[in-house]
Amino acid sequence: MAYVSIPTYSRSIPQRYALIGAKCKSCGAVNFPATLNCLKCGRNEFEPLKLSGKGEIYSYTTISRGGSPPEFSIQQNLVGSYHVAVVELREGPKIVAQMTNCKPEELKIGLPVEATFRRVYEDDGMIRYGVKFMPARTT
């Protein structure tokens, strides 16, 4: 059964742990996750930019019990349904991640949110850390 290997996961650790984006040296667009070629202009020279983790919900849904990918079977068994959102970050790019510390009735398009560091799942015996989003505590 294929899965996200350690090298694949580790390649993106600066993005997953610290939200390091790639600012295009030619057109200034902020790419996230980092890509080989700028999504806007196609060139491939970047400088790293640590994103603030602040943004707004662009879209969201709740994954009900029983539906999750196998990486999240244990989570779903323990806590039931969970929320996932596409967040439009202040710096421009969009990211998809789970929501946390959030009641279902709080979820709406446009909700200000911020990133928080969490355990996302486990595989190969290693804890896979990353970010989830929660309603913004501060402006």
């Binding site: 323990l78 806590v79 969490r118 355990r119 804890i127 501060t138």
Partner: protein
């Protein structure tokens, strides 16, 4: 040289003593109203990242300025694979930042702080960060787990002018058995309840530690505005403070743990953060952290500048952001059902 600033993190989920009473018919920790519970996707490392990140935000420091990052916890997620490295990476520290894990005793939060101070004092670096973060577990069918909570606090230290000037410290070592321990490979921290026998031991160490530090610095209780004793129940801490001739008004700070729980290595730094947040200019603080089967550390410092958290990130605001859970949820999210 000393403390530049602090940051705290308290998880949102809380459980009240009443939930334990409903489940077990009793609640063993008389000093505790409710405690903080790490969520299923939190651990000592995730909470440390949040606390350290808040410390950076509160002080306006960038992670690239941190020359050393020390992580203190009795419940590190990895027993082998350095946890401080994950934290440093998540914060965006440089790759020539010195990282270290400090563990094995609730005292280690303060021990790590003292070592972290040494890092800058010895000129190895200019700015360092110590983060104590803990989420200890006891056997859920026994009384010890009742008092155990989750939380984290980080302190940024530096050379030169500091907002919290360190006057001195002392570290004592004292072997004792059975008071609080966890063997390698075991999940639950436990205690052999020897009542007065252990009380006598901890009393001896704590009184020596505080007494000798004051003697070393030529100070007496009246020179201090606050004393905090960690590593014993807060009510015992107040008793011991009285034996040292401190007034009760100087010692109530430890009671902040009454809403968080016994947070192992993080207890001392959370209480220190509380003191820094509420102390005023020129107030003097003495902190003593006792470790069963280990000894104790003590630290004396003077507030030389304002240290306030950024909006939304103060300890009071974290304490106010809460969501109560019932006992079944507690068992599930603490993963007591064996699903790691």
């Amino acid at each position: 040289m000393g403390i530049i600033g602090y940051g705290v993190y308290i998880p949102r989920q809380r459980i009240k003593r009443e939930e334990y009473q409903k489940a077990w018919g009793y609640f063993a920790a008389r000093w505790l109203e409710e405690k903080a519970v790490a969520d299923f996707d939190e651990d000592a490392v995730t909470m440390a990242v949040e606390a350290a990140s808040n410390a950076l935000r509160n002080t306006g420091y960038d992670a690239s300025l941190i020359d050393a990052l020390y992580f203190a916890s009795t419940s590190p997620p990895y027993a082998e694979k350095q946890n401080a490295t994950t934290i440093a990476t998540a914060l965006g520290c440089r790759n020539d930042t010195a990282t270290m894990d400090v563990t094995s005793s609730p005292r280690c939060g303060l021990s790590a702080l003292l070592s972290c101070l040494d890092y800058v004092d010895s000129l190895r670096g200019k700015t360092s960060l110590v983060v104590a973060s803990d989420s200890p577990s006891g056997d859920p069918s026994g009384p010890f787990d009742h008092q155990l909570g989750s939380g984290a606090a980080a302190i940024i230290l530096g050379r030169g002018l500091a907002n919290g000037a360190v006057e001195g410290s002392i570290s004592l070592t004292s072997e004792s058995l059975g008071e609080r321990f966890r063997r390698d490979g075991q999940r639950f921290v436990t205690t052999i309840d020897l009542g007065r026998y252990h009380d006598a031991g901890s009393e001896g160490v704590i009184l020596s530690c505080v007494g000798e530090l004051m003697k070393k610095l030529g100070r007496s209780p009246k020179d201090y505005d606050f004393l905090a004793i960690l590593g014993v129940d807060p009510s015992r801490g107040i008793e011991l403070a009285k034996k040292l001739s401190f007034e009760e008004t100087q010692t109530t700070s430890s009671m902040v743990l009454g809403k968080i729980g016994d947070v192992g290595a993080a207890s001392s730094l959370i209480v220190l953060s509380k003191l820094l947040e509420s102390a005023s200019f020129k107030q003097r603080l003495l902190l003593c952290a006792y470790g069963p089967g280990s000894g104790a550390d003590a630290l004396s410092l003077v507030v030389d500048g304002e240290m306030k958290a950024a909006s939304g990130l103060s300890l009071d605001e974290y304490l106010a952001r809460k969501s109560y859970i019932d006992y079944a949820s507690y068992l599930k999210i603490r993963r007591f059902f064996g699903a790691s």
